[in-house]
Subunit: 431 residues, 2 copies
C-alpha cells in the first residue's frame, strides 16, 4: 500500500514541474481571491473577525483585507474569513471545496513576511492547493456527506504545506506538518448559511500557518496522522482511496479544473445564468422563459418571488430576470431589496417558469426562450465544460475589474504575471 503521507510530503518538498496553464490559472485564482476578498470587507462577519484580531495588536507581520496588519496566524484567520464572506471565491468539484480561501491567506502572508518573489508565492500556493484537492478527493464525498466542510479540513493541510514550501521544508518536515495539521483541522457543514461558513475558511488558513510555524520551530508531532486506523481519514469518515488520490501526482495538476464564479449568487443558479448569457435575452422581446434544472436545486435556490437581496441570490426567476433587464449579476450590490421591487423585473419574472429535469446533472441547466415574435431559442450550459484559457482570463479579469476597478485589477494582474515581490501584492489587500 502506498504511504499516503510520505507520497504527499515528497511531492510537496521536491522540485515540481508546473505547466503554463497551471501557472495562469493559479494567477487567475490569486486575482479572483484578492478581488473577492476586497469586495467582502464590509460584510458583518468581516467586521467582527477584524475587530477581534485588531484588538489583539501584535507584530505587523501580514496585511489584512480592509487595512491594517497583524501577526501571521491572526492575519490568516481574518483574510480567510473575509475572502469567503461573499461565497464568491473559486470552487473545485473534486476537492469539494474552495481551495483559494484556505491557501492564499496563509501563503501570501508568509511569502510577503519572508520577502519572497510572487513567482515563489504562486508555486507554493499551487502545490498547497493541489494537495488540498488531493486530500479533499481522498476524504471524498463520504466526508462531506457526513457533515465535514472540506474547505476547512482539506484546506488546512493545503495551507500548511504551502507555508512549509515557502519556509523550505524538507520531506520530513512536510510529513510532520501534515501530521500536526491532522490534530488541528476542523470545520462543520452545520455552519452553512451562517457566519460560521466563512469562518471555516479562516480556520483552514490559520490552522495551516500555525502548524507550519510550529514545525519550523522544531515541534515533533506524530507525522503519520492522515492514514491508519486512527488517522484523520478514519476518524473523519474519509473514503481513503489513496491510489485515486495520488494518481498522476506530479504529472497532472488537478487544480487546473478549478471553477471561478461569475455571478454573485448561489452556485446552483450559475449554469442557468450562463445559458441565458448565450441567449443574450433582451427583456421587451420575451414572451416566456422556461428554465430546466437538476431536481436537487428546486429546494435550494428556487425562491419564486423573493423581496430581499439575500432571497434574490436563491431565485432562478429573479436572477434570470435581473440579467435580461440589465442588472449585473457579477456585482454583489446588484442583489438588493430595491432590485426585487423593480416593476420591470417583476413583470419579466412572471413570464419565467422553473422545472426539475432529472436528465440534467447538477452542473447543467437548459433554457427555452419564446420571443413575442414567435421565435423559439434554446441554450444549455454545463459548469464542468472547460472554459478556454483566454476566455477564462477575460472573465476573471472582467469580474475583478467590476469588483475593485479596472486599474486595480490590471495592476494586480500585472504583478502576478510579470513577477515582483509578494509584499507588494500583499499591499493590494486594501485599496
Amino acid at each position: 500500500m502506498t504511504d499516503f503521507t510520505a507520497t504527499l510530503a515528497e511531492f510537496a518538498a521536491g522540485p515540481v514541474t508546473t505547466t503554463a496553464q497551471a501557472r495562469i490559472i493559479t494567477s487567475l485564482s490569486a486575482l479572483d481571491w484578492l478581488a473577492v476578498g476586497r469586495a467582502g470587507i464590509d460584510e458583518p462577519v468581516s467586521r467582527i473577525i477584524r475587530e477581534m484580531i485588531l484588538s489583539e495588536g501584535g507584530a505587523e507581520q501580514a496585511r489584512l483585507f480592509g487595512g491594517g496588519a497583524a501577526p501571521l496566524r491572526a492575519a490568516a484567520l481574518v483574510n480567510g474569513t473575509i475572502s469567503h464572506a461573499l461565497d464568491y471565491d473559486d470552487t473545485h468539484f473534486a476537492h469539494i471545496g474552495h481551495p483559494s480561501v484556505a491557501v492564499f491567506p496563509a501563503t501570501l502572508g508568509i511569502a510577503a513576511f519572508e520577502d519572497r518573489p510572487v513567482v515563489d508565492l504562486l508555486e507554493a500556493a499551487l502545490v498547497g492547493m493541489e494537495l488540498s484537492v488531493r486530500i479533499g478527493l481522498w476524504l471524498g464525498r463520504d466526508h462531506y456527506q457526513a457533515g465535514f466542510h472540506q474547505t476547512a479540513t482539506a484546506g488546512a493541510f493545503g495551507a500548511a504545506v504551502a507555508v512549509g514550501r515557502i519556509l523550505g521544508f524538507d520531506a520530513t518536515q512536510m510529513r510532520q506538518v501534515l501530521g500536526l495539521a491532522a490534530t488541528r483541522a476542523a470545520g462543520q457543514k452545520t455552519q452553512f448559511g451562517t457566519m460560521g461558513k466563512p469562518y471555516n475558511a479562516g480556520l483552514a488558513a490559520a490552522n495551516g500557518i500555525e502548524v507550519a510555524l510550529l514545525i519550523q520551530n522544531g515541534f515533533q508531532p506524530n507525522a503519520q496522522a492522515l492514514e491508519g486506523p486512527y488517522g484523520f481519514g478514519a476518524t473523519h469518515a474519509g473514503m481513503n482511496d489513496v491510489a485515486r488520490a495520488v494518481d498522476g501526482l506530479g504529472d497532472e495538476w488537478l487544480f487546473e479544473s478549478v471553477s471561478h464564479k461569475f455571478h454573485a449568487c448561489c452556485h446552483g443558479l450559475h449554469a442557468a445564468l450562463e445559458a441565458a448569457r448565450d441567449l443574450d435575452i433582451a427583456e421587451p422581446e420575451v414572451a416566456e422563459i422556461k428554465i430546466r434544472t437538476h431536481p436537487r436545486w428546486m429546494s435550494v435556490c428556487n425562491q419564486l418571488a423573493p423581496t430581499t437581496g439575500l432571497g434574490a441570490k436563491f431565485s432562478y426567476r429573479t436572477v434570470i430576470a435581473m440579467q435580461a433587464v440589465g442588472y449585473d449579476t457579477a456585482l454583489p450590490a446588484s442583489f438588493s431589496d430595491k432590485t426585487c421591487a423593480d416593476p420591470r423585473l417583476i413583470s419579466l419574472r412572471n413570464r419565467i417558469t422553473v422545472e426539475a429535469d432529472d436528465t440534467l446533472s447538477e452542473t447543467q441547466a437548459r433554457l427555452e426562450l419564446l420571443r413575442r415574435d414567435g421565435v423559439r431559442r434554446e441554450a444549455e450550459h454545463d459548469l464542468l465544460a472547460p472554459l478556454s484559457l483566454p476566455d477564462r482570463e477575460d472573465r476573471v479579469r472582467e469580474k475583478a475589474s467590476k469588483l475593485i476597478g479596472a486599474d486595480e485589477a490590471d495592476a494586480i494582474w500585472s504583478m502576478l504575471r510579470t513577477g515582483g515581490r509578494a509584499a507588494d501584492l500583499a499591499d493590494r489587500l486594501d485599496d
Copy 2:
C-alpha cells in the same frame, strides 16, 4: 427529546448552586494546574509554543507560564499546552480527559483581563469543567475509541462556556458559543506520546476563548451544532445519550469526582504506587514484592529494566523500587537516567515481579510484600476509591509544595480560598 444544547446553555447562563465540596475541589484543581504548569515550563514543547507566541507580540492581555504576556487567545494556547506538557494535571474518568488544562488557561486569562474576583473565576471554571465533563460523557467512549481526544474536543466547549460566563453571556449567547465551538473543536489521539498531546490541550483552551470572543462581538453561528444528524456528536462518533449526560445537572457536580495525580508517571502505575504507600516499604527488609495489575497495563507500563527517565515512567518495577529506596515519585525530576542506574534501585527491582490479573479493574492494583523476616503483607488500591476532602487537600497541597515550593503553594492556596483578584492569581503563573 431533550434539547441538549439548550439544556446546557440554560444551565451555563443561569444562577448555579455550588457545594462547599465542589468549590474546594475546584480550588484544588486550580492550585494543581498552576503548580503543574509552572513545573512544565522547561519542557521542549513549552519552549516551542512560547517562542511562536512571543514572536507575535501583541497586547499584554494575559500572563504566560514562564513569564511574559500575550493576547488572550495566544495566552490560552500557550498555557494550555504548557500545563499539559508533563501530563501531570487532573483527570476525569467520565469526561475521559483532563478538564483543568482546557478550562483554566482560558478562564484565568479572561477573568484577570476583566479584573474579576477569584470567586467568579472559580465559579466560571467549575461551570465550564462541569459542562466539559457532561459533553465528554455524551461523546462517550465511542468518541475516544474512534480516535478523538476528549481533552481537546469536550474541553473546547467547556472553555468556551467558562469564558462566556465571565463575559456574562445569556442563554442565547451560550447556545451560540456552543454552536461555534462545534466547528472549531479538534484534537486527535494519534498525537499521544508526542508534543501533539499537550498541544491538544492548548487547542481546547485557545478554541474556547476564540469562539467566546467572537460571540461577544456579535458573531451569528448555527447555534444548534452539537446534536442532530450533522452535529458534532454525529460527525465525531459521539454516543449521544443525552438523558445520561444531563442527568442531575444543576443538583450534582460530576466534576467533584476529578482525580489528581500524585506521581509524575504513567497513570497505569498510580494504583500500585498508592498500595505501596500503604505498605510503607523500607528497602532493606524486602525479600520479594509481587505486583498484580489489570492485563491492559502489561503492554503500556511494564518496562522491566529501563535505563532512561522516560522509561522509568512506564515501569512498575522501577517506580515501586524508587519509592521504597526513597525517591519522591511526585517529583518529575526523580525520573532520570541517573535514578535508573542506582545500584540500590536495581538490586530491589530484581526482587519485584509483575503479573496480570483480570479480576482487577483498570484502576486497581494489588501488592504482596514478603519481608526478609518472613512476614507477609498485602495492600490493594483503587484509584476510584474516594479520597476524603481533607486527605485530598493535604495531598494536592503537598504536591504543589514539592513542585513550586511551600511558600508559593501556600500563597496561591490562600488566594484561592480567601478571595482576592484573578489578576493577582495570574501573576503566579511565573515565579
